[in-house]
Symmetry: C2
Subunit: 239 residues, 2 copies
């Protein structure tokens, strides 16, 4: 695989308590696949400084890119920026460029640019700001770590700002065949086919519909010709 | 915190490629919260043996319980049972009890109990089987690791089999207040209130509705009296 790799780190108690269902991970997974970046791992951790620091260190060393979601607002539980700064070994302060952006925003809206709001200008030294067209308060990129807001429409807007700056590999293509037979019936020949195409990834995703077992057989790879060749054989076997 | 802790490990390429949106994590989060077990971390890894082994080792040592989802079917990409056995340092084989369950199931349904289906009887030595009332093929518990299927209705049935065997702590209660003001306006007093109640966890979950900023302020803890006291003060501040 020559494709760049990535992980996402979702930060927030609300997902782990079951209060909120994460949608950022699923959104980013789709976008990265289109861009030819392989999402290899996802983690969700609570709002605990040391947990965020450890996860950022591990994932940013292991993959080409790390994307984070959540914890960059003005409240006391927003601790992501400080944790990322510590993980990357750089100082963090109220940075002039972010202060100016936010000052102008609150001047326009007639709201006080108070201490809490100024927290959103805390940006690690050396980071580049990520544009937030929804509510101004910026995300940032430091090294290979892209730090973004957790509110889904802001997260999505920040992803749209960041992704065009990254270099993807060949797009990860997939084709699938729906088979109305149990996995146990198709597993033998399907496994043999997967072994014939070691450059492709083949997975079986079972379902039960109206009490009957079936599976979606998915073939993934970057070479359209190889995918087509595999799908021809797959259809001969199970179509 | 005296509550037992937990992590969930979701195994499967299909979530990371964006093809499928995970629902097991969200379901388990809600069930554990009701039972008084704190879900501290979630990870999603691909169908790669070494990644599963590493994650099982790390998470099972760190938390009271580890729950896994996915990768225990009959196809070549179902590698969870072998990875868990390696992580826990025990042998794995086609176990007689699981073979008997599955043999009876396929005898009843008139389907051949072929080699692929026999793979689902591969259970690590010393593990206890988890009942699967939907499609028979069992999950298993070894040490503090509970290994379950990825298909949501089977996962949920297995969770229903496992959770009554676990000891929870006091239920994690939560109350919330919806505030139609921006987080920047409430952050100062909200942070001060959180500092007054160090035994509770307080989080702010912002939203944008019809262009206006608001937040759900959530207070969590195990002592109903303390939660009520905090909510009285919260309502005085922002109600």
């Amino acid at each position: 695989m020559t494709n760049p790799t990535a992980a996402i780190l979702v930060i927030g108690d609300e997902i782990l308590s079951g209060r909120t269902r994460d949608s950022n991970l699923h959104f980013l997974a789709g976008e990265l696949t289109r861009l030819g970046i392989t999402l290899c791992e996802a983690r969700i951790v609570a709002d605990i400084h040391s947990e965020i620091v450890d996860a950022v260190r591990t994932l940013s060393s292991k993959y080409t890119h790390l994307f984070t979601s959540g914890g960059i607002g003005p409240t006391h539980d927003d601790i992501t920026a400080d944790a990322v700064a510590e993980a990357m070994g750089v100082p963090i302060s109220h940075r002039a460029d972010a202060m100016a952006l936010l000052q102008a925003h609150y001047d326009r809206s007639g709201l006080p640019f108070n201490e809490a709001r100024q927290r959103m200008a805390r940006i690690p030294d050396g980071a580049a700001l990520i544009d937030n067209p929804v509510s101004t308060a910026p995300g940032f990129t430091i090294g290979n770590v892209h730090v973004m807001a957790g509110v889904p429409n802001i997260f999505q807007a920040m992803v749209a700002s960041v992704l065009p700056t990254l270099t993807g590999g060949p797009p990860l293509l997939s084709q699938s065949l729906r088979v109305n037979r149990g996995e146990g019936e198709i597993a033998g020949p399907f496994g043999a086919l997967a072994a014939e195409f070691p450059d492709l990834s083949m997975g079986s995703y079972p379902f039960i519909q109206n009490g009957a077992h079936g599976a979606n057989l998915v073939v993934r790879g970057t070479d359209p010709g190889r995918l087509d060749a595999a799908m021809v054989k797959l259809t001969q076997l199970f179509g």
